[in-house]
């Protein structure tokens, strides 16, 4: 099949940030009517490439050609006018406005300066109809699911005569049927000749929808391949630059462990968040929490950390009754909690990697006892090396790091406290295969060293791979506690989550 001329061609793109070479001589092209996946680990340069393409950043080297003409975008708006539309992971719409308003914001159909509401609604209806979405366009956007909001964002992007549509991790918060709906829309757009650049961490989705993929590693181009010609194993190998065997070391189940009970929660609960539950975590034990989004996994963890006040129940640590009314109290009892919401509940964006790492330790010591600089350097260097945080510069602002590396910094913050119980809420979400494997291996190592871990994840394989015991939550209730032995499979676990009864 003869290839059509590329609608977009980037050559030799280079972009440098202070201390980081984010992109180095990257070539990239996009053919009309294809879905092109941009692959790479966190920090490989995917986001930077997209931001360069959409005019968020200026390039330091290289050229961008759109439709055969050389371009340089001064702003995202300029890129949009030129036909490059972007839909980000977090939907950038005004949820308080109506669907129609969101689609036409800034370019409402007007007559004599007056907005023609009827016309606007009619056109919005028509536009969404073409994507086979039938909703009331005069209702507020917030009344629809995230998937629909994403479709609205896409509808808006497409209506601005897009030649190139960039979807940056659009599926990370969608469920399976919503993903299917999104893919249907994507296929339709593809048929209209729109080139789609697609970023996702889910390999299965990439293989389902993408025609072609470009792989980046450490800011450099690894290669461009047709999806049909590259196996998943080869892809992962190219993304992380090492053999997959290393990742599979963790296959198999953790050996059973007999430790003394460390944390015993009895009838711990909070109205509206989670029904009272009883859970015992032993020393050196990894307890997985499985359940659907909103089943109460995070809420249970927050009670154990004192992030929310428990309305009922009690907690014993090492056999002694303790009050966990605040995170400070929990930290004093050597409990650490790594939130699933890195941005809102973890990072202090203006501070450096070093400061973010030592923060919890410093807070525990109080401000009158600063950690000596030498001790800081020692701790920070140790964890930057141990967790392979990149770039390995402790004075880099943390907001300049990629998601996976930020996550490792969060882990380092808690690990230097040497907690007895480490609560990890979705520590591997939104990060790439390599970093994921590193974090999983770390959890296994920590538990070997005697640390108890409460591991929350939506990925059942991951929960099964790491946990000695799995707690299953459903509708804000802990419905089962299952030992992870030969009999437990993801299917059985799924069954339990779905039926609400232990098998």
């Amino acid at each position: 099949m003869a290839e059509p001329a590329p609608v977009l061609r980037m050559r030799g793109i280079g972009k440098e940030f202070p201390g980081v070479k984010a992109l180095d001589g990257v070539d990239f092209r996009l053919l009309p009517g294809e879905v092109h996946a941009l692959m790479g680990e966190n920090g490989a340069g995917k986001s930077t490439l997209i931001k360069v393409l959409t005019g968020v950043y200026e390039i330091d080297a290289g050229t961008i050609e759109l439709g055969g003409r050389q371009v340089a975008f001064a702003s995202p708006l300029a890129a949009q006018h030129a036909g490059i539309s972007t839909v980000y992971q977090e939907v950038n719409l005004c949820t308080n406005l109506s669907v129609a308003e969101n689609i036409f914001i800034g370019r409402e159909p007007r007559r004599f300066g007056r907005i023609q509401w009827g016309e606007m609604r009619r056109r919005a209806d028509e536009l969404l109809g073409r994507l086979e979405i039938d909703i009331d366009v005069s209702a507020a956007l917030s009344s629809y699911s995230l998937a629909i909001q994403q479709m609205v964002a896409i509808a808006r992007a497409v209506d601005i005569d897009a030649q190139v549509l960039i979807l940056d991790e659009p599926t990370s918060s969608l469920d399976a049927s919503e993903v299917a709906q999104l893919f249907r829309v994507m296929r339709q757009l593809k048929e209209q000749g729109i080139a789609i650049l697609f970023v996702s961490h889910f390999l299965d989705q990439i293989y389902e929808i993408a025609d072609r993929m470009t792989i980046l590693r450490n800011g450099k181009l690894v290669g461009e391949h047709l999806t049909s010609e590259l196996s998943q194993v080869e892809l992962v190998g190219k993304m992380i630059g090492r053999e997959l065997a290393e990742l599979e070391q963790l296959e198999g189940r953790p050996p059973a462990r007999e430790g003394a009970p460390l944390v015993e929660a009895v009838d711990l609960g909070r109205t509206g968040a989670i029904e009272p539950f009883t859970l015992t975590i032993h020393e050196g034990e990894v307890v997985g929490l499985a359940g659907l989004l909103g089943s109460g996994r995070t809420e249970a963890a927050r009670l154990l950390f004192g992030a929310d006040h428990a309305g009922s129940g009690s907690v014993k640590i090492g056999g002694e009754q303790v009050g966990l009314r605040t995170p400070r109290a929990a930290i004093r009892n050597k409990i650490a909690f790594c939130s699933e919401n890195r941005r809102a509940e973890g990072l202090i964006p203006e501070l450096t990697v070093r400061e973010n790492i030592i923060l919890a330790l410093q807070a525990a010591r109080g401000w009158t006892r600063p950690i000596p600089r030498r001790k800081q350097d020692e701790l920070v260097d140790k964890y930057i090396t141990a967790l392979n945080i990149r770039p390995a510069n402790p004075d880099q602002l943390i907001r300049n790091l990629s998601g996976g590396n930020q996550q490792k910094v969060m882990l380092a913050r808690w690990l230097i406290l040497e907690p007895r119980l480490l609560i990890l809420d979705e520590p591997t979400r939104g990060i790439d295969v390599g970093a994921k494997a590193e974090i999983q291996r770390l959890v296994a190592e920590l538990s070997d060293g005697g640390m108890a871990v409460l591991f929350i994840s939506a990925e059942l394989e991951e929960v099964l791979r790491l946990s000695h015991k799995v707690g299953v939550l459903r509708d804000r209730r802990l419905i089962a506690e299952i030992d992870n032995d030969e009999g437990l499979t993801t299917d059985a676990l799924t069954e339990t989550i779905a039926s609400g009864a232990a098998t």
Binding site: A72, A78, I348, E355, L359, Q362, A363, W367, I371
Partner: protein, 352 residues
């Protein structure tokens, strides 16, 4: 451009320093002997010393304000605290049998500062304990505090005649104006607490992301209480200086609008109103810039009816110069819109 020069130009204090130097040079043209400093009766005299001397209260207030702003708060009540502290000290001194008795003056100063601490703790309680937005919480004391100051002075201007009290705002020690020494000591102490000890990190953390800080185990309430109390203490000391300098307390006008000057000094110094990173040295420069500007207005003979307009103009220019986005727009050639000629050509124009 050499790397060293680039680093120098990019330093966060480069623009405040440049602006201050610019203002001083402007004075050099308009005022004879502007940079002349001499020793008279064992005291340092000169325009530069005056800038420090008259700027001391603002420097103090701005210092406290810096920490409050770093926690992404704001304290509008500092002007009222200035008035209350001055009024209370003067009232007590005026009731002394011997207004020059050191013990009596010290007691008056102590009582005024304790009240300032209490007022600051009140602000802290509203913000950290009850959770009222800082701008509203401190607005309460800003308005009510003026009334409190009036109450203390009985609606009159209290004048005192005490050489010991006069020392604070108008006296000299070791050839230096006493106010400068106070500022230096407080600055040193603050720098010590925030940078040598870990208070600064915790303040920046709370200002950067309050919820994340709470989950990291920082007692953000205690941090907030500390900064609001400290801010009021600074304002209290400034109030003593101001009233001591004129040997009287005016509940209505002492420290009027000083909160706005202080906020301005903090912003000029490069601390973001959104909280997070703060710079004490930047704030000191900011306060000096404002004071130098006031001096300049008098020295170059701006007509009194246009002084405020003139000040506003200069402040606008200063703020624009400080903004990287603005500098990029003005000093580099505008980036071209979509579909413009090759990027390579553009790159040349940018680096040139």
């Amino acid at each position: 451009m050499t790397p060293n020069l680039t680093a120098f130009l990019r330093h966060r204090l480069f623009w405040p320093v440049a602006i201050l130097v610019g203002l001083l040079l402007l004075n050099l043209i308009f005022t004879d002997n502007f940079f002349h400093i001499e020793i008279k009766d064992g005291h340092l005299y000169g325009s530069l010393i005056d800038i420090f001397r008259f700027g001391a209260p603002l420097m103090l207030v701005a210092m406290g304000m810096t920490l409050v702003i770093a926690t992404s708060g704001i304290d509008l009540s500092v002007g009222s605290v200035v008035a209350i502290s001055g009024a209370l000290a003067c009232l007590q001194i005026s009731e002394l049998g011997d207004q020059n008795s050191t013990g009596g003056v010290l007691r008056a100063v102590g009582v005024a500062l304790v009240l300032s601490l209490i007022l600051g703790a009140w602000n802290g309680l509203l913000v950290a304990g009850i959770g009222i937005q800082p701008i509203i919480a401190t607005l309460i004391l800003m308005v009510a505090g003026r009334g409190l100051a009036q109450l203390i002075t009985g609606g009159q201007i209290i004048t005192v005649n005490s050489t010991s009290y006069k020392l604070i705002g108008g006296g000299y020690w070791l050839t230096l104006p006493f106010g400068i020494i106070i500022v230096a000591v407080v600055l040193l102490l603050t720098a010590l607490l925030t940078r040598r000890l870990a208070l600064g990190l915790l303040i920046e953390s709370v200002g950067g992301n309050a919820e994340a800080s709470r989950l990291a185990g920082i007692g953000s309430r205690a941090v907030l209480m500390t900064v609001y109390t400290f801010c009021a203490l600074c304002a209290g000391i400034a109030g003593l200086m101001i009233s001591s300098n004129v040997s009287s307390a005016d509940g209505n006008n002492a420290g009027l609008w000083i909160e706005l000057d202080a906020i301005l000094a903090v912003v000029i110094g490069g601390t973001s109103l959104a909280g997070g990173r703060f710079s004490l040295s930047g704030t000191m420069l900011g306060a000096l810039i404002i004071q130098t500007l006031t001096t300049t207005i008098y020295s170059i003979g701006v007509p009194p009816q246009t002084t405020l307009l003139f000040k506003a103009l200069v402040v606008t220019i200063v703020c624009l110069l400080q903004s990287p986005a603005f500098r990029a727009k003005v000093f580099h050639r505008r980036r071209r819109p979509t579909g413009a000629p090759p990027v390579a050509e553009e790159k040349v124009s940018v680096t040139a």
